[in-house]
């Protein structure tokens, strides 16, 4: 059942991309790229696929199970898998996995832009995938912030810093993410994320969200490089600050000493180094 609906989603993406390309011709800057590989590129892409993807997904894209026994989705004939989906997982470093493929915290991206382009085009040709990699135009950050707050902030945080989603899932940070990744993720709804179609978030609004996140990533920090703090981190800094104030108390009023031992150790009063020195100089005279 889920498969069928995902197929619908796939078609929705295709249709959306079609509409987008139509609008691009009317002056809207959202174009679908169609990629044709040269034979040299095909060979290179085939090598990358064989070394990075085929181990789990199979040379024929049939999927299966990992050596650890976890399921691996098929690439061929799987309505979930579309061009933007394939492109997205490589852009965010989910694939090929640098570590546990099921850990969805932010991770290292192993393929560069050129390798990604080749692999995307290769699997699209090889397994006959639908959809295309979107392009994102200029947006308005003011509207983008409102759309983000209404649709994205509950999972990714008000300023896109990411957060916790429960059951061993974490929502990734979305600042410093390129606009294409954002557009793909919103439409595809990868993994635990629900997808959003053009009725809910339009292409223009996606561009606005990307513009908002761009402004957030460029927000000027303090000389310590800090931008707006989560209350937990703020509390950490508050503790550090209170610690510094307490140290200044030691400088002003002498180092802390514990209570005198009942067997007659020194008193609890503290003296500064300067005072102790002055006293030591005086004591022989007294």
């Amino acid at each position: 059942m889920s498969r069928r609906h995902r197929a619908l989603l796939g078609w929705a993406v295709v249709v959306a991309a079609g509409v987008a390309s139509l609008m691009a011709q009317l002056g809207r800057p959202a174009v679908a790229q169609t990629e044709q590989l040269t034979s040299a590129e095909r060979t290179r892409a085939g090598i990358i696929y064989a070394s990075q993807c085929a181990t789990c997904h199979g040379a024929e894209g049939t999927g299966g199970v990992t050596p650890a026994g976890d399921p691996v989705p098929a690439l061929a004939g799987n309505p979930d898998v579309t061009v933007p989906y394939v492109d997205l997982v490589m852009r965010v470093g989910r694939m090929p996995p640098a570590g546990d493929p099921y850990d969805n915290r932010s991770r290292e991206v192993l393929l560069d832009a050129e390798q990604r382009r080749l692999v995307t085009a290769y699997v699209a040709e090889e397994f006959d995938l639908g959809g295309s990699v979107p392009t994102v135009g200029e947006g308005n950050p003011v509207t983008g912030r409102e759309v983000f707050a209404a649709n994205c902030a509950q999972c990714h945080g008000s300023s896109g810093a990411g957060g916790v989603a429960g059951a061993g899932a974490w929502t990734p940070p979305v600042v410093n993410t390129d606009p294409v990744t954002i557009a793909e993720a919103i439409r595809v709804g990868p993994f635990q994320m629900p997808g959003f179609n053009n009725q809910q978030i339009t292409d223009a609004e996606i561009a606005d969200i990307a513009a908002f996140l761009e402004v957030v990533s460029e927000e000027a920090g303090t000389p310590a490089g800090l931008v707006e703090l989560n209350p937990v981190y703020a509390s950490g800094f508050a503790a550090l600050f209170v610690g510094i104030v307490v140290i200044s108390l030691f400088i002003i009023a002498g180092r802390p000493k514990w209570f005198p031992d009942p067997s007659g150790q020194p008193t609890g009063r503290g003296l500064s180094r300067r005072q102790r020195k002055a006293r030591a100089e005086q004591e022989p005279a007294a």
């Binding site: 850990d103 915290r105 950050p141 003011v142 912030r145 707050a149 209404a150 902030a153 509950q154 999972c155 945080g157 008000s158 300023s159 990411g162 957060g163 916790v164 429960g166 059951a167 061993g168 974490w170 929502t171 402004v215 957030v216 927000e219 303090t222 000389p223 310590a224 800090l226 931008v227 707006e228 703090l229 989560n230 209350p231 937990v232 981190y233 703020a234 509390s235 800094f237 508050a238 600050f241 209170v242 510094i244 104030v245 307490v246 200044s248 108390l249 030691f250 002003i252 009023a253 002498g254 802390p256 209570f259 005198p260 009942p262 067997s263 007659g264 008193t267 609890g268 009063r269 503290g270």
Partner: protein, 472 residues
């Protein structure tokens, strides 16, 4: 004395008779210890809070009405915002020094509450709460409560998305009061959340009612210290029950306090340059029904938020009359229990050991097993609950699922505090037994015990032996 100052002083002295009292004040002896300055830190933070707060009040608009922002901050140009949030944006980005003073105000609020709590810890650990100072100790607990209220209302005023979420949870907490919850919540909020009255009322609480109460109570707190004099750490050869040993207000204590206030203000300003802890621009304004995945209160409310997070699902009706729910137990009963325990502790200790008379010399908490156990038990409990409020960050940093993080705190919050309390209680009892002593029941008894151990150890008093005797 400079001529101008002495002229002014003589003029006033001729009319007010200042010379005698001023000498008495200048000669007032202050025991000398760094931990005695924690209260002063809190006092000076309050001064900074009032000074910066007056500046902020000049710009803040206590309203949630939609207002168009036309300032220089890019993300909101031309946007409709709640007036409170809009005025904070203007203050932060369009008023010279506005952001600096907001950050100093926020930093000073952290310091005010932290220094007050550390001050209370010092009082509790060393036994400065004992007779005759119980009244002042309870005043102090009241002050910390109002400091929390001031902190929470201040956190709410910008009406950013975090603030609005916090207000919503506070409203739910009030609702959860059995039988009278809805009524009390409507009284404070002026109706069902979110009303237009919330922010104006929180503003009145924050700038008038609560600071007024805090200043009045601080004045009384200080007047009582002046009247009852300071406690002090034990000094060998000095009968601390009858005498105070320390430094005079002029010049030593004055110099320390003056240095402290300047350094503290300097550190607060430095923190304001480096730490953006009051910035709310990226959080965005509160919109009903929207929340960010970063909902956390300020650190001093962590323990209550942590309790709300780890408390198991609970909600039952009593005879259909009233409802007892998790938010009530975890968010109201539990903090109420902690505050009550703190307030009741002086009486418990006096009763448990049959203490007699007045106490002016501080005592090592390890000399009093009940106090050692109580302090470690209750404060480890509060700290663990506070840590539970950071569960989402902990989960993300460690890669452990949040459910497991919360289960970890569910178990440790119940098990660890009593175990730690009992362990240190036993240790303190054994320590006393090792020195074959019992808990002293009066200050004289304590001094005799200390003196006998000193003699037994064969040590010579360092202070001049005639010092106490030479006094009349």
């Amino acid at each position: 004395m400079t001529p101008l100052f002495s002229l002014l002083f003589d003029t006033l002295d001729a009319r007010l008779k200042l010379r005698g009292p001023s000498r008495k004040v200048a000669n007032k002896v202050f025991p000398h210890n760094w931990s005695f300055l924690l209260g002063e830190v809190a006092l000076f933070s309050l001064v900074v809070l009032v000074a910066t707060g007056i500046f902020l009040t000049m710009f803040y608009r206590p309203s949630t009405e939609a207002t168009v922002y036309n300032g220089s901050y890019e993300l909101y140009q031309g946007a409709q915002l709640p007036a409170a949030f809009e005025s904070i944006l203007r203050l932060s980005h369009d008023v010279p020094g506005g952001l600096l003073f907001r950050r100093i105000h926020r930093g000073a609020s952290h310091l005010f509450i932290a220094a007050s709590v550390l001050h209370m810890l010092r009082i509790l650990l060393t036994g400065a709460f004992r007779r005759p100072r119980e009244v002042n100790y309870h005043l102090g607990i009241g002050l910390i409560t109002f400091a929390f209220v001031a902190g929470f209302t201040g956190y709410s005023l910008p009406y950013d998305s975090l603030a609005g979420t916090g207000i919503r949870i506070a409203y739910s907490e009030l609702l959860s009061l059995p039988l009278i919850g809805d009524r009390v919540a409507f009284w404070i909020f002026g109706g069902d959340f979110p009303t237009g009255d919330v922010i104006p009322r929180f503003f009145v609480f924050h700038v008038l009612v609560v600071p007024g109460l805090i200043i009045a109570m601080v004045s009384l707190h200080l007047a009582l210290v002046a009247r009852q004099r300071h406690t002090q750490f034990p000094v060998r050869g000095v009968d601390g029950h009858k005498f105070i040993l320390g430094k005079p207000l002029w010049p030593a204590q004055f110099a320390e306090s003056a240095t402290l206030v300047l350094w503290m203000a300097g550190l607060l300003t430095a923190a304001a340059v480096f730490i953006p802890w009051s910035d709310v621009a990226l959080l965005g304004p509160y919109v009903p029904g929207e929340v960010g995945n970063n909902a956390q209160p300020d650190w001093f409310m962590f323990w209550i938020d942590g309790a709300l997070r780890i408390f198991p699902p609970l909600e039952f009706s009593v005879f259909g009359l009233l409802t007892v729910s998790g938010p009530f137990v975890a968010g109201i009963l539990l903090p109420g229990f902690v505050f009550t325990a703190l307030a009741a502790y002086p009486f418990a200790e006096r009763r448990r050991y049959g203490l007699r008379g007045d106490w002016h010399v501080l005592t090592n908490p390890l000399e009093i097993p009940l106090r050692a156990g109580f302090m470690l038990g209750i404060w480890s409990f509060v700290l663990l609950l506070s840590a539970a409020a950071t569960s989402d960050i902990l989960s993300r940093l460690t890669g452990v699922s949040i459910e497991n993080v919360l289960w970890f705190f569910r178990i440790t919050c119940v098990l660890l505090p009593p175990l730690l309390g009992l362990a240190i209680n036993r240790y303190a009892k054994r320590r006393l037994a090792r020195h074959s002593r019992t808990v002293a029941r009066s200050e004289q008894e304590a001094q005799v015990a200390a003196a006998s151990t000193e003699v037994a150890a064969g040590s010579k008093p360092k202070q001049p032996a005639q010092a106490p005797g030479s006094a009349p």
